[in-house]
């Protein structure tokens, strides 16, 4: 009680005392989110495009991405620890888990964005003699970009929150304060991790929202 309601000052005092550690954890957190979201985009966007070309794969692929979402993080870490290359303890395992969690919104929105392009527009492109590649590059991607970016935005914001669990496997990040706080019954410490993470999620959301609007203007 004291920590949450009378704790505004103690939280500020905590930040003042531990500013270097806080910056380090924020840095780790940004690193985890950036690498994992980047990898999820690199995997998820081509996969989403592929699904528009192979509609039969849509069910199984999106189903699998759905399943990853539902596996609790500690269970996922437990499975990942024994695996070579992608497993073990530390940042790598956390990033693998975060990529798996971020895939669904990116794959799904890429697919929906492209599949949602007006068939008449697509036909017009074909009628002009466009190849499949040209159709994708010049028509489908620009028109679907808004929906695709919305998926990236959701994935990023969710990742900022999810990345707090990286602390469970020795990968650092703001979850360290949360785990420490939970372990020592210390509300101030929990807030010291949760509050910067929430601010970071809001900032990421605003930034990507801006990008979404900018790019949407440019697209025809």
């Amino acid at each position: 009680m004291q920590g949450i309601y009378g704790g505004g000052m103690s939280l500020l005092a905590f930040f003042a005392r531990n500013s270097r550690e806080l910056l380090g954890l924020v840095g780790q957190h940004v690193y985890l989110v950036a690498i994992s979201t980047g990898a999820a985009i690199a995997i998820g966007v081509p996969l989403g495009i592929l699904l528009t070309r192979r509609p039969a794969w849509r069910g199984p692929v999106l189903g699998l991405a759905n399943v990853f979402q539902t596996v609790p993080s500690l269970a996922l870490f437990g499975f990942l620890i024994p695996l070579p290359f992608i497993g073990g303890i530390g940042a790598r395992t956390a990033i693998v888990a975060l990529v798996l969690y971020a895939l669904l919104p990116i794959v799904r929105n890429t697919y929906e964005g492209i599949a949602g392009v007006d068939p008449a527009v697509r036909e017009a492109g074909r009628g002009m003699g466009m190849t499949d590649g040209q159709l994708l590059r010049l028509v489908e991607l620009p028109l679907g970009l808004g929906v695709m970016l919305a998926g990236v935005r959701v994935a990023t914001v969710v990742s900022v929150g999810t990345a707090t669990i990286a602390a469970a496997i020795g990968a650092g990040g703001l979850g360290v304060y949360i785990f420490r706080g939970v372990a020592t019954v210390d509300d101030t410490l929990i807030l010291a991790g949760a509050l910067p993470a929430a601010l970071m999620a809001l900032a990421a959301d605003a930034l990507l929202g801006l990008a979404e609007r900018k790019l949407a203007w440019r697209s025809p």
Binding site: Y5, G6, L74, I89, I169, G181, V182, A183, T184, V185
Partner: protein, 290 residues
């Protein structure tokens, strides 16, 4: 003003929490032993006091249980004296089991209107664990045997152990342990897995844990008596006990009935043989609290 709003919020929460007439809510923390003890307590109340019991098990650790019971969301759960003493009350670690128990019981009654039952019998302290193969190769029996080998070793510890006043920092100082790299901070459950998979070489688990036997680990002896006592006992809301004297009587019957070896055996039944907790609890009650 803000404090008043906060306070009225808590009172509202408290009122809502108390609004479960003739139903006892038993909580437990998020590990097997706590679930097992919660189930034993729940069944004991069911069969002796004939009151409906609601189980709110596997709550997220000391933090959640403590907030839940002070807010009246649960009526009782099993807590450890050392945890209450250092983690909740923030007292510096102390070694004498009796004085720790007395201080905890007095402070809980005064600050939170919570009542401590007498200890159940076992002491679940931290256990420094290594793989049996390593223990045999390097002749490790006591924690002090670790000092020469740890400069080449990697440790993985839970956040609780790394943060607590009676945790890693003091252990490293008392035993002169100098690891090559700082220990990896991770979830306690995952440290067992990481040790079994040779990702780390030494961890700090719980001395009554069933995984110690399951993963063929060795618990090193605390030869310099660093770890404080962690006697388990039932913590209850005092108003609930005075309202239901039959519950209080049922709980007294459990006091002193659970020695260390018995707790380890029950944990292993649940964790290693994957038996149903409700059945383990029922069988144990039948045999030990007839």
């Amino acid at each position: 003003m803000r404090r008043e709003i906060a306070l009225s919020g808590w009172i509202l929460l408290l009122a809502l929490g108390c609004a479960h007439p003739d139903r006892i809510v038993v909580g437990s923390k998020n590990f097997t032993e706590s679930d097992l003890l919660g189930e034993i307590v729940a069944q004991q109340i069911e069969r002796r006091a004939a009151l409906p019991v609601e189980r709110r098990f596997h709550l997220g650790g000391t933090f959640v249980c403590h907030h839940a019971i002070t807010a009246g969301q649960i009526d009782l759960y099993v807590e450890y004296t050392g945890t209450a003493y250092t983690a909740v009350l923030k007292f510096p670690p102390a070694l004498d089991p009796d004085s720790v128990y007395r201080a905890v019981a007095a402070e809980y009654a005064r600050r939170f209107s919570l009542s401590w039952g007498k200890p159940l019998g076992f002491d679940n302290t931290f256990a420094i664990l290594v793989r049996r193969a390593d223990a045999e190769r390097y002749g490790l029996k006591r924690i002090s045997d670790l000092a020469p080998v740890v400069p080449r070793w990697h440790a993985g510890f839970g956040y609780e152990f790394l943060e607590r006043a009676d945790g890693f920092a003091g252990l490293a100082r008392i035993y002169g342990l100098r690891f090559a790299a700082p220990p990896t901070a991770m979830d306690l459950g995952l440290t067992y897995r990481a040790l079994g998979q040779r990702k780390v070489d030494v961890i700090a688990g719980n001395s009554t844990d069933g995984q110690i036997a399951a993963l063929d680990l060795v618990a090193l002896q605390d030869d310099r008596h660093y770890f404080p006592p962690y006697q388990a006992a039932v913590v209850s809301r005092a108003p609930m006990l005075s309202r239901y004297p039959t519950v209080a009587k049922a709980l007294v019957e459990l006091e002193g009935k659970m020695p260390d070896a018995e707790m380890r055996r029950l944990n292993a039944l649940a964790d290693v043989e994957h038996r149903d907790i409700a059945i383990i609890a029922r069988d144990w009650l039948r045999a030990n609290v007839p």
